[in-house]
Subunit: 315 residues, 2 copies
Amino acid sequence: MSSMGEDEVSSFFESSPPLKKMEDILQKLNGFIELNSSGGRRRIVCVTSGGTTVPLEQRCVRNIDNFSSGNRGAASTENFVKAGYAVVFLYRSGTCQPYCRSLPDDPFLECFQFPDNTNIQGICLSFSIYIHRFIFNQMFCTAVAEARLLKLPFTTIYEYLQMLRLIATAFKDVGPCSMFYLAAAVSDFYVPWNSMTEHKIESGSGPLDIRLAQVPKMLSILRTNWAPQAFCISFKLETDSKILIDKATKALGKYKVHAVVANELSTRKEEVVIVSSSGNVVVRRDSDKPEAIVEDNLIRLIVDRHSTYIKESHT
Amino acid sequence: MSSMGEDEVSSFFESSPPLKKMEDILQKLNGFIELNSSGGRRRIVCVTSGGTTVPLEQRCVRNIDNFSSGNRGAASTENFVKAGYAVVFLYRSGTCQPYCRSLPDDPFLECFQFPDNTNIQGICLSFSIYIHRFIFNQMFCTAVAEARLLKLPFTTIYEYLQMLRLIATAFKDVGPCSMFYLAAAVSDFYVPWNSMTEHKIESGSGPLDIRLAQVPKMLSILRTNWAPQAFCISFKLETDSKILIDKATKALGKYKVHAVVANELSTRKEEVVIVSSSGNVVVRRDSDKPEAIVEDNLIRLIVDRHSTYIKESHT
């Protein structure tokens, strides 16, 4: 880590608009960690999910958004809870939620589609099916009852990185039993807050040129400064399969993470590749089970590797 | 309208990725108009709502988004239905829906907030309150039962403008009884599809410069070519109140719409100004009624003006 990188990171945070409700977030976070690091429960993972936005105007109307449904993060969270982890779910507002993935975007509205379903009794019936599917989801009840899931929402790149720093700092004491599973689609480019126009950009005077700066690579700082003992998994998404493994391998070396999960946009629900110093492993969905998802097998493998990492840290 | 403007519009549509399920949309739309233009029900409005996105890559990961909750469009739709209109609600996927505005973003999740509500009975109780508030919403049931609401979702600027053109063309026969109420936050700038990169933009090589072209002003074409007899209301949102009325007045002259609703970002839920050739009228929320919204008074006024317009068209 060059001091150049650290300078960029400092100036990013200094120029960021301050996080709202920071005290409240910290209190929830510390309470959650305390609760979950006692009584034999030790492992904790921060799952990041969904895309960050980059505002183009301070009083934000326009922004650049990174598309991500949040499905990977939500599904992985369910599997981590199942494996006994406490999960801090750092997610983009409005994206997929754990235990709600099988629900339609808007369950209320799905039941009211014109013109197939104009009968009120039919509506109530199809609605109650949704409710039952959700309410009686045993795993969700377990997670809530045992307080194993803390959900924290973000929207902008500023919120995301400030919250990630808070979480990493709070995880420091958990040491090797903590994990970062960074599935969020984080913006690579942004408009520094100080150089941003306050008001809405005017239209009507020809083309608009925007110069975007690179977001400093926080992953290095997370590894070296914020939570150096945590097990760390990052993601690489590409649309071009030809360059995917090469880029994931480079990221592994550059950020010194423990593994990079490589996925291609069009096949990401069927297979991913775990790239690590011990070689590349292709992980597929069990295609013979209709309910199976690729995250079932992915998290099983990641948890195994985390177990090995914890054992090795203690010797 | 210069031929220059028309050329731009033609080339925009020619280079747009084709609309998916166009046949299906057309069939729904024509069925809805036919149903609602018989039996004494005559008035029909197209309410547009939410923001459009501009893809930055063809296999879209990044895009520029115009923030809009869609609250204005959803609330206005309820008021138009109440006033006897059939409504085509052209909305951005995932934004506010009519009759669901009072629900939280995610009603399922609100009931499950850690750590206040870890008791399953408490969860079920608070959830059933939401359900009842929704299911028994009388106006909604009426709208569905009488088939007065057709909802059509969009995401990109390409989808929005192609669907708007379809609707305008389909409204042509309804003449002065049709209305366009254009509350959507439409992108002013875009990257022409043909000049767009197919794959994800690479990061890691310095700042990124993006040149955005202006989206051709479709409002003029809607007024002069697509649906010249329709009553037409457009919106102007600014963050700077000093330039708001001036910009709204210029838009009124430029696009020859019947009125422009001017609103400032920070006060938009309290008041708007209707700018028209007969002068400017400030419309406020009835602040003595807690449930009142500014759209109650806004739509009452707009409907009155539409009535006058229809009368004048028949003489």
